[in-house]
Amino acid sequence: MEGFMYPNEVELQWSVLIVLYPFLTGLVAGAFILASLERVFRVEEVKPTYRLALLTALAFLIVAPMPLQLHLGHPERSLEMYLTPHRASAMAMFGFVYMWYLMAVLLLEIWLDYRRDIVLMAQASTGAKRLLYKLLSLGSDNISEGALRVDDRAGWIITLIGIPSAFMLHGYVGFIFGSVKANPWWSTPLMPVVFLFSAMVSGIALVLLMYMVTSLLRRAPIDMRCLDTIAKYLFYTFVIDFTMEMLDLIHRIYEADESFRSLDFMVHTRLFLSQIVLQIFVGTLAPLALLALTQLMKFPEIVRKRMYAVAATLTIIGIFAMRWNVVIGGQLFSKSFLGYTTYKLEFITREGLLPAIVLMILPFFILYVLIKVLPPWHGENTGATPAETD
């Protein structure tokens, strides 16, 4: 500890697990927005990634509550948030936003898009697999033209509702921080906006990477028109995100309120590596420069692929650093503005680095299972006849 802190402030309350949570939900929101680009805004260039984006969102959404559960003092009481939610609390209302998004949007949309394949796979398989697909089909086997048209229409409506829902999913997380007037690092109306746009950036970058990696693993050709389009949207979204963050920063520096000196010192010392180096230079300026280059100049395909892959990876690192800087940074300085503390990140404890790493890897395992059960690509040994070419 340095300087003066209120005695109860020295220990950090929210650990790396709480950094992980907005990171994971951000990826969900971002992946979904990319998927909805095709569905609602008819950006059909990104269609090859539609199903992959949805499954990625689902995999990460399933894991998202886990860091929270690990962090709670009494995880066995977590159901109370649904039973006696305190309506004034953003955290309580978020439980319902999460549930709504999972059930009414994501699961429903995936189901509607895959329904035909599920029914066909149920018919083509035996034993336990057949039972699984039968269950997933909810017992209905109607895949006539009419039914599929109904599905398409319903899916369109769901996606339409889904876009503001995805915005809420992550905007709410931003609000959970942004509405805390006690903490000047968090308290700003820009927080939900910054969180949302950085979520979109990280989600789009993730789907871009997933598309490249899964294509490589499947030895399938990458649709460059798709990849270029994703990269374009990544660039534009990133520009907006960067603008928002710079606006917050410039505003703080200019107004220089009572918290400014303390926060400024914190950024230049405790948060130098994670904020200035990782978030700003490595995680924002570098990928932005790479992406800008690809938009301004024509590079051969192989070079573009490399640039996109590097940009997307750096982006994801940068967005993680941003979550770290918000959550951990907000607890490193005293609310008296007279002192600082340090975050002791341990390795093998309930809220340590090891569980955080496990939780970051887990969604990929879940995604693997999801891809096996609900293959995003047609013609892949499931007995499903390719209805459309990807």
Binding site: E80, M81, S89, V180, K335
Partner: protein
């Protein structure tokens, strides 16, 4: 309070009668206590605080506060001349064992006792997702240890740093204004043990409470008024450098 023998003789049966309700170690409801008749606050007099830490120790004893965590604490301030935005502050172990003899002479030096402000518009109760921290009808903010999830949102939301995460209960915890004492007609442990009267419990709904007169004749402040928390801890003689 100068007691004559006569007063003592009158006090004895009253104390004995009151004590029936207050028996140590025998958890009992507070009879004859109606929440609607009270609105609790406290007067903290900076001009009287000597930084002895008796309040911190008494609170820890009365409420089984674990070592290293504080339901109340005392800070020592040094304001150098006109540098009101950069005081030098210290609180060794929350002031639990007093303060070392001060060496920094010059400027203005004083002690500030801190605690939960039992805010009327408390940000902590606003953010609790399940209703595990709440306002009572008599103006006290409490925590339900059987219901709290331990999410720590309330600890983040408190601008005064008065909440902490209890290391064994695994719930949020904080000053309860000795609710178990004040509902039985006693004063809080900190007020009882303050040797100079720097801390005094106040029932703002009681017209006979001396705080009303005090508030008329003295200049008082609350901490962080710009956050409009509705704090009911009134500080007499609070310097502008206090955070």
């Amino acid at each position: 309070m100068n007691l004559t023998r006569r007063q003592v003789l009158l006090l004895l049966p009253a104390a004995a009668a009151a004590w029936e309700f207050v028996k140590a170690g025998t958890p009992d409801q507070a009879p004859n206590y109606s929440m609607d008749e009270h609105w609790w606050g406290m007067l903290l007099d900076i001009t009287k605080c000597i930084g002895c830490g008796s309040c911190v120790r008494a609170c820890a004893t009365e409420n089984d506060v674990p070592d290293g965590y504080f339901r109340t604490w005392v800070e020592q301030y040094h304001r150098e001349d006109w540098h009101i935005e950069a005081p030098v502050v210290s609180s060794p172990d929350g002031g639990k064992n007093g303060f070392p003899p001060g060496k920094v002479a010059g400027g203005k030096n004083f002690f500030v006792p801190k605690m939960c402000n039992h805010c009327v518009d408390s940000p902590c109760t606003q953010v609790c997702p399940v209703g595990a921290t709440y306002h009572t009808a008599d103006g006290v903010v409490l925590v339900d240890y059987e219901y709290c999830l331990g999410c720590r949102y309330c600890i983040q939301a408190c601008p005064y740093g008065c909440r902490f995460f209890h290391p064994t209960k695994h719930t949020a915890d904080k000053c309860t204004l000795c609710y178990h004492r004040i509902s039985k007609g006693l004063t809080t442990a900190c007020c009882e043990n303050c040797p100079t009267g720097a801390r005094q419990l106040a029932d703002l709904k009681n017209p006979k409470d001396p705080i009303h007169e005090f508030l008329k004749t003295h200049t008082v402040q609350v901490l962080k008024p710009h956050l409009a928390t509705g704090s009911k801890m009134f500080y007499n003689g609070l310097d502008g450098s206090v955070r």
